[in-house]
Symmetry: C2
Subunit: 292 residues, 2 copies
Amino acid sequence: MPINAQILDNPKSDRVRHIADLTRTKGRERSGRFLIEGPQSVREAVTWRPDVVRDLYVEVSQALEHPRIISSALEKIVETSQDATIYVHYCTGDVMHRISPDAQGIAAVGNAESMHAGADDVELGKNGRAPQIAVFWQVRDPGNAGTVIRAADAAGCDAVLFVDDCVDVLNPKVIRSTAGSLFHLPVLAMSTDEFFTWTGDHNLDVWAADVYGTEERKPESLPAVLADKAAVEAPKAVLFGNEARGLEPDILTRCGRIVSIPLYGKAESLNLGTSAAVMLMSLSMSGHVERM
Amino acid sequence: MPINAQILDNPKSDRVRHIADLTRTKGRERSGRFLIEGPQSVREAVTWRPDVVRDLYVEVSQALEHPRIISSALEKIVETSQDATIYVHYCTGDVMHRISPDAQGIAAVGNAESMHAGADDVELGKNGRAPQIAVFWQVRDPGNAGTVIRAADAAGCDAVLFVDDCVDVLNPKVIRSTAGSLFHLPVLAMSTDEFFTWTGDHNLDVWAADVYGTEERKPESLPAVLADKAAVEAPKAVLFGNEARGLEPDILTRCGRIVSIPLYGKAESLNLGTSAAVMLMSLSMSGHVERM
């Protein structure tokens, strides 16, 4: 579609600098906003969480008489955004590159405050499924954090909880790694004590995903647990530990079950993202098939 | 332990340049050798495939009167290598960094020829398990290729097959991403026709992991297949497609089953590494539990 709006063309303007600043923690804290980069993330944001999106920045080409959005996929995202109160700004390739080298022609600025879900925003057991929450303790790597949010979404979890000192979920690397899933389900941050209080209040079993267990209690093997219909169908929060250190013993002792993924070959371990996907997906799949 | 051998200290020497060249395809083709970087990969290589390792390069510190290997973990790897005919070379930090910035103090050079398994090297159904092979068609990304080898290893697969035009498994990025699993099971490369001939000769069912299926045949859902004891215990090769394009219709029609991983939330897809881990691990777990 032809575009008549004024085109942002100065990569050195204050406005553009402030947007680019949102890739850094300081920039996000100062402004209370965050950056969403690339067609997939922006599309999912305007589709599922238009309430958090303030501004949309789209690259246009000025090669023709009338400037045009550089692809029909991006045009469609802009159209989707028109139902909500989202301000659309057109900009040159230079400006887009300054906003983010990872934008691929589109970026959005969101309101951090409306993105932070509260514990009350979690609706447990939607669609008649057994409630299942994915919980991550002290996850530090942005790529891992994004991957586990995506896995929890695929498994149909009701929410993702980041417990204790985790990476900021509004870090652009986290958002990119979620492939849009950040906008599909509530993602909360809380302390360890708040987590155990909350799961207690909501009658959720807490399962620790852990290879070693404690001295008193060895982990149960995932396939044995999957064969236990009552266990699979129990409302639960599945807790995964830090990438390098796993879960601490005093957290393990507070969990109702400790479950480990068996390794059948010579591999020593699975990484956090793979462990989360295998455990959450296999629990969901077991809950969805009538066993003989 | 004190070290008396001569220490490689010239990062510009021909020897060091040739080793560093192994990170590139040309360097590997010219020499018939490949590079293994970092403690985990090198340890697994000297432990499980000492026959392919020719030379070991270990960083020493010269800060003390006698040069010393920079950590006890590296010392242990050197000790492990002593049972095989592996030449150990000590080198300075500068030389090690020139060999590979990812070496973390240790690197090895292997013989490419002895690493390329033949179809006869595959021992199906070890340990009394149902034979299971993981197969990847046109996988192009080194990180993905490494991740799927690691997942196949964890699931106890008998071998990994790379079919048609895939990334070179001796690419250092692939090796790093396998976290040592490259040395745990046979990894073969073959053409599409060779693959179907080989699975036919070995009475392996071929299952395609695919979301869409063909016009004539929609995919079966993984949990339904997992509930079918005969299917789970059948000797099989599970075939995964290219990261972006999946599998082509004329390949799908040659497969005995088409199986898709259900997505329960709003996520549109899982990436290749996660899909492979979920499908291979859940098949292995189902094969290991006596169902009621």
